[in-house]
């Protein structure tokens, strides 16, 4: 029942996407658009097939930066969010700075990372971390502060200490907030890694894109875009799955809403 409902709800999007691809194919054949401007979907598929192993190799490099960057972002966001919740002056001092830091375009920060840390893996990891940190930290801080004050009162009448309240009440309460932040972060992370690679790297999907672009192999460029989309979607779904697995108490309400 649930499966069918989810297929049914995705059907319009799939049909729409299918129609666009067919239209695209027809137009590029009928109008004979040069492949370096707009390759037909079939040409892209061929490029994808021909370069499959090469694309996998580059994806692995990008994925390494994405996963390490995400992990680092999760770690720092958790530590900072808990610290900001525990010590209000820290929150007052740091929170506005975090918001301001978000208005600095990543394109301005990324070159600095490269100047400071070279063209290896580290600057990419840091760029991914920078991009992912904010949605994670903001969501966590929000979640930790939105706990029902009655629940805190109750814990106080049990003489529970602050850490016990944090671990058994605030953190579990903030978990749905954390996971919605992580979903946003996961989709940003691939983008962050690719931007990092554009500015200087030896391998990775960003490098593959640059090379395809410079040699006017537009079909290869499109092929890498498809890989990026699939990678982002996979990460997104993975986060959703992790949320589902780690919050068994949240399943009931979701099922009810869909059922």
């Amino acid at each position: 029942m649930k499966k069918w409902a989810s297929i049914k709800s995705n059907l319009p999007a799939a049909v729409f996407l299918g129609l666009i691809v067919i239209l695209w194919e027809l137009i590029s054949r009928a109008a004979a658009v040069p492949a370096y401007i707009l390759p037909a979907p079939t040409e892209i598929a061929v490029a994808l097939g021909d370069n499959f192993l090469l694309l996998i190799a580059h994806t692995r490099v990008t994925l390494a930066a994405v996963l390490s960057g995400l992990a680092l972002a999760v770690l720092t966001a958790c530590i900072l969010a808990v610290a900001m919740d525990r010590w209000k002056p820290l929150k007052q001092a740091l929170y506005p700075v975090l918001v301001i830091s978000q208005s600095i375009p990543i394109f301005a920060l990324a070159p600095l990372m490269l100047i400071w840390f070279g063209v290896g893996l580290l600057p990419k990891i840091l760029i991914v971390t920078l991009v992912c940190f904010f949605p994670l930290a903001v969501n966590l801080v929000e979640g930790l502060s939105q706990v029902d004050p009655e629940a805190i009162d109750l814990m106080q009448t049990m003489k529970a200490n602050r850490w016990m309240i944090m671990i058994s009440v605030q953190l579990p309460f903030a978990m749905p907030f954390f996971f919605s932040g992580l979903k946003i972060a996961a989709t940003y992370s691939v983008l962050g890694a690719i931007i990092g690679e554009w500015l200087g790297a030896r391998a990775g999907l960003g490098i593959y894109m640059l090379r395809a672009m410079n040699s006017f192999r537009t079909s290869h460029l499109f092929a890498s875009v498809i890989v990026v989309i699939l990678l982002s979607l996979a990460l997104f779904k993975l986060v959703e799955l992790a949320g589902w697995a780690s919050m068994p108490w949240q399943r009931q309400s979701k099922d009810q809403m869909e059922g």
């Binding site: 629940a151 009162d153 009448t157 049990m158 003489k159 058994s168 919050m247 009931q252």
Partner: protein
């Protein structure tokens, strides 16, 4: 002989303020609960009944007045008390067992020992076999019994109960009242019970305090001389009805 008071509120006043607005909630309310006594506070909605409990637990600092537990001044200092707030406040991410064990874990009991004690208590509360259920899998009455069990596992002989049965249907509610009485008799605690049901207050209590509309003031204090253990037959006796009439009259007095 001076009676042994477990809890005393002396001329407590409180104001609710949000921004510019200042709303007087309690106006010199005094009440006491003797050791082993069951006292109910009854009043119209919004008469600051919940505020009385918060102040009694030391969670809220009153503008005026003092709170004593076992004759020591605890005004504004959160105490180890069996506080049961309006909603059951079971944590959805914890199973029944984990929820009930919280007071024990807060008192630094080893996890294994805490769970063993909870398991032992389950039959008393009619919850055997449900230890590993999440709150959403339990019925309203079961959730309330779990919350009550958690309250009982708080190592304090004072219970502060804030309309614990307000959200339950009438039938479950009556069952829960008998549950509460049995538990109270078994554990020999002092209880301050907030409700807006007159029947409930008379049925459960040794004494009923009537509080006026906001700002809440003492209106009437009535000792309930009905035999214990209380039985449902009492509800239709003449004595019960006369208490009821008295309380209805007290509640309809405008402040």
């Amino acid at each position: 002989m001076i009676p042994i008071e477990k809890l005393q509120l002396k001329e407590v006043s409180s104001t609710y303020s949000s921004g510019e607005e200042k709303l007087p909630v309690l106006d010199r309310v005094s009440l006491s609960v003797g050791a082993g006594e069951f006292v109910s506070v009854i009043g119209p909605s919004g008469s600051g009944k919940s505020t009385i409990l918060k102040i009694a637990a030391g969670l809220l600092n009153p503008d005026r007045g003092k709170v004593f537990i076992d004759s020591s001044d605890i005004t504004g200092n959160p105490q180890l008390v069996g506080y049961m707030p309006q909603q059951d406040l079971l944590f959805p991410w914890k199973t029944l067992k984990q929820n009930a064990a919280l007071p024990l874990l807060a008192a630094k009991t080893k996890k294994k020992e805490a769970y063993a004690r909870v398991e032992e208590m389950l039959p008393v509360f009619g919850l055997e076999g449900f230890a590993d259920y999440y709150p959403y899998q339990l019925s309203g009455g079961m959730r309330q019994r779990t919350a009550l069990m958690r309250t009982m596992l708080i190592d304090s002989d004072l219970m502060l109960l804030d309309e614990p049965f307000g959200a339950l249907d009438a039938l479950t509610r009556e069952n829960m009242q008998d549950w509460l009485l049995r538990i109270w008799e078994r554990f020999k605690r002092s209880a301050l019970f907030v409700t807006h049901s007159i029947d409930e207050a008379i049925y459960l209590s040794d004494r009923v305090c009537v509080i006026s509309e906001r700002p809440g003031k003492n209106v009437l204090e009535q000792v309930i001389e009905l035999p214990r253990p209380r039985k449902k037959e009492l509800l239709t006796t003449e004595k019960f009805t006369s208490y009821k009439q008295m309380l209805i009259d007290a509640l309809s007095v405008k402040s």
